[in-house]
């Protein structure tokens, strides 16, 4: 009898490549998990080496960070305050401007204006950060020095201002998304009561979108903390325990850059120290990122 090839054989031939492809694609997707694990493993492993030489208590409470001097101190506080001061300056620019822009784009701007200006804002995000560093050091700081004559050449104020402008698009686009997610009928209800656009925007839409807007701020904070080149170029490289933005101070990221520029022997304490501060940086950004995403998720689910 002339045997026909079984249907099932045919399917197996057809399905095997399908499965292989699916497996490959899965591995590609899983690489995101692998990268996260690799980051954690590397940072924790090298930090453990660091903490066998430096006690965690000293690391968290000492007020000096002088790993490159002969009298070594490993207190992370000056780096953390430097990071937070720059981030605060940046956010005091980015939050008000970003929020106003978001409200304007979502509630006020005519379609034409939005379509023309938004690409510009996106371009602002595309400029490499080292270029912003140059701009902060050689344009904004001299400009500030005409108002504040005794501002040093390296200072956190100039770096923070430029960083703030840099993260405006980030804050504004996430906030705008949150405001646009507020359904139209809520606005219409407000207009029906005789409210003006401004009243609707500030008293109805903004409160309704609060969690999304706060998420935008938090993601902006995390962005400002992790930003490297602007501060490495313009904020100075001297660890300095101060809350005064007029002074120069190293941030966590600037310290990592500074050490990396030198010839660091593998396994030395300086080498391990950048992983330890890197871990601090990662935990700080992780905290803000998780918080931001939780809030963002919330505003998505409300309507």
């Amino acid at each position: 009898m002339n045997q026909k090839p079984s249907r099932f054989a045919y399917q197996a031939r057809r399905h095997l490549p399908e499965r292989i492809i699916q497996g490959i694609l899965f591995l590609a997707a899983f690489s995101a998990v692998a990268v996260t694990i690799a980051i954690m493993v590397i940072l924790v492993y090298e930090s453990l080496g660091f903490f066998t030489h430096v006690s965690i208590f000293d690391f968290l409470t000492d007020t000096q960070w002088t790993p490159l001097f002969s009298d070594k101190h490993f207190g992370v506080l000056p780096l953390v305050t430097g990071t937070l001061v720059v981030a605060t300056v940046a956010l005091s620019i980015a939050i008000p401007l970003g929020t106003i822009i978001a409200i304007y784009l979502s509630e006020f701007a005519p379609h034409r204006v939005r379509e023309t200006v938004k690409p510009f804002l996106e371009l602002l995000e595309g400029v490499p950060t080292v270029v912003y560093g140059y701009f902060a050091l050689l344009f904004v700081t001299p400009l500030l020095q005409t108002f504040i004559p005794d501002l040093p050449g390296f200072n956190m104020l100039g770096a923070g201002i430029v960083m703030g402008i840099m993260i405006i698009p980030y804050v504004s686009s996430v906030s705008e998304d949150a405001m646009r997610a507020v359904p139209m009928h809520i606005r219409e209800g407000s207009y029906a009561m005789g409210a003006t656009r401004f009243q609707t925007a500030t008293r109805v839409v903004t409160p309704a979108a609060t969690s999304g807007i706060v998420a935008a701020y938090i993601l902006g904070i995390s962005r400002a903390i992790g930003e490297t080149m602007v501060v490495a170029v313009a904020a100075g490289s001297q660890p300095n325990l101060t809350l005064n933005p007029m002074e120069g101070a190293a941030t966590i990221t600037a310290y990592i850059v500074q050490v990396s520029l030198g010839d660091l022997p593998h396994g030395s304490l300086e080498y391990q120290s950048i992983f330890a501060v890197g871990l601090v940086l990662l935990l700080m950004t992780l905290l803000f990122n998780v918080l931001g995403h939780l809030l963002r998720k919330r505003f998505r689910e409300v309507y």
Partner: protein, 310 residues
């Protein structure tokens, strides 16, 4: 008509007019706020152009860095940038697109998918310098790739992974399911459907994500500094094309290198003023490259949106 002149009505009208004035005030404030961003962008570009235009000559593109500011150029750094971008494009882009396809087309709702998605969003928020630390520990010392083109390219490949994944997913999601159902109805398998329908139709969207990712990688400085890339490179990596069989050489992968943003950073941190002009000129080159790529992405997205109506 008594109610037009009714004092109550006039009072309310006056009130509304007063409140409406705030609409106009706010519209102006909003426009001004946006202008802060736009003006900064323009000021930054003009500042760089004024400082750097004197150095933007042919010689600048064909010279190695030098101790003498007026003889220094960006030959080794633009060649380095191209080679590093090649590695990035070959590693990060296929990986990201594949991951995006999996998450959008194959992944079922379970904890593994959730885990992957959480990690992708999380990686997008990890500061770039952390990728540099990862590369320093993993690629430079564990895998022993050294401070090479390969290390830098792979690092940036990982860095752009979330951008490419998100771009791919958005592009694929915009394809209506009727397209897929049509393909299944005529007997196509899942992969045939994806290969012959989903991917071709979402190419423009995927390209947007890829270009934005690559533009980000070109300007990225911090992770490359962290892997310990030298800043003074007065030679080119070995050529990928050789005169002897098999005509291709991969020695360049392991070569030391420099890239444009690193070159700019090393010039900015020099105390001599003359080098600052070089930095500005290098900045103009970088900014033109990244802005051109971003603009291209915006144009592609815009045209894609306009042309295709499902």
């Amino acid at each position: 008509m008594s109610n037009i002149t009714d004092p109550k009505i006039t009072a309310i009208r006056a009130l509304i007019v007063k409140h409406k004035r705030w609409d106009q005030v706010f519209a102006i404030i909003g426009l001004l706020s946006m202008m802060v961003g736009v003006v900064t962008l323009i000021a930054l570009f003009i500042d760089l152009l004024i400082d750097g235009s004197g150095r933007l000559t042919w010689q600048f593109f064909t010279s190695f860095p030098s101790r003498h500011a007026d003889q220094a150029g960006i030959l080794s750094s633009w060649v380095g940038t191209i080679l590093v971008m090649l590695v990035t494009a070959l590693s990060g882009v296929p990986l990201g697109i594949a991951a995006g396809i999996y998450l959008e087309e194959y992944a079922s709702r379970n904890w593994i998918t959730d885990l992957i998605e959480i990690n992708v969003t999380n990686l997008a928020g990890v500061p770039s310098i952390i990728y540099g630390l990862l590369a320093l520990g993993l690629f430079v010392y564990q895998f022993d790739f050294g401070e090479s083109v390969l290390t830098a390219g792979l690092t940036l490949g990982l860095l752009i992974l979330p951008v490419v994944i998100v771009g791919t997913r958005e592009a694929i999601r915009s394809i209506p399911s009727s397209i897929r159902e049509g393909a299944y109805a005529v007997g196509a398998t899942k992969w045939q459907t994806i290969r012959d329908h989903v991917l071709p139709y979402s190419t423009a969207g995927i390209m947007t994500g890829v270009i934005i990712g690559m533009a980000r990688a070109i300007g990225e400085t911090a992770p490359i500094i962290t892997i310990g890339a030298l800043t003074f490179i007065a030679f080119l990596p070995p050529s990928p094309v050789t005169s002897q069989f098999p005509f291709l050489s991969f020695d360049w992968l392991m070569a030391p290198f420099t890239v444009l943003p690193i070159q700019m950073f090393s010039w900015v941190s020099r105390p001599q003023v003359a080098f600052l002009d070089n930095a500005a000129a290098a900045g103009v080159v970088i900014i033109v490259m990244t802005l051109a790529m971003n603009a291209l992405a915006i144009v592609i997205r815009y045209r894609f949106r306009k042309r295709i109506k499902w």
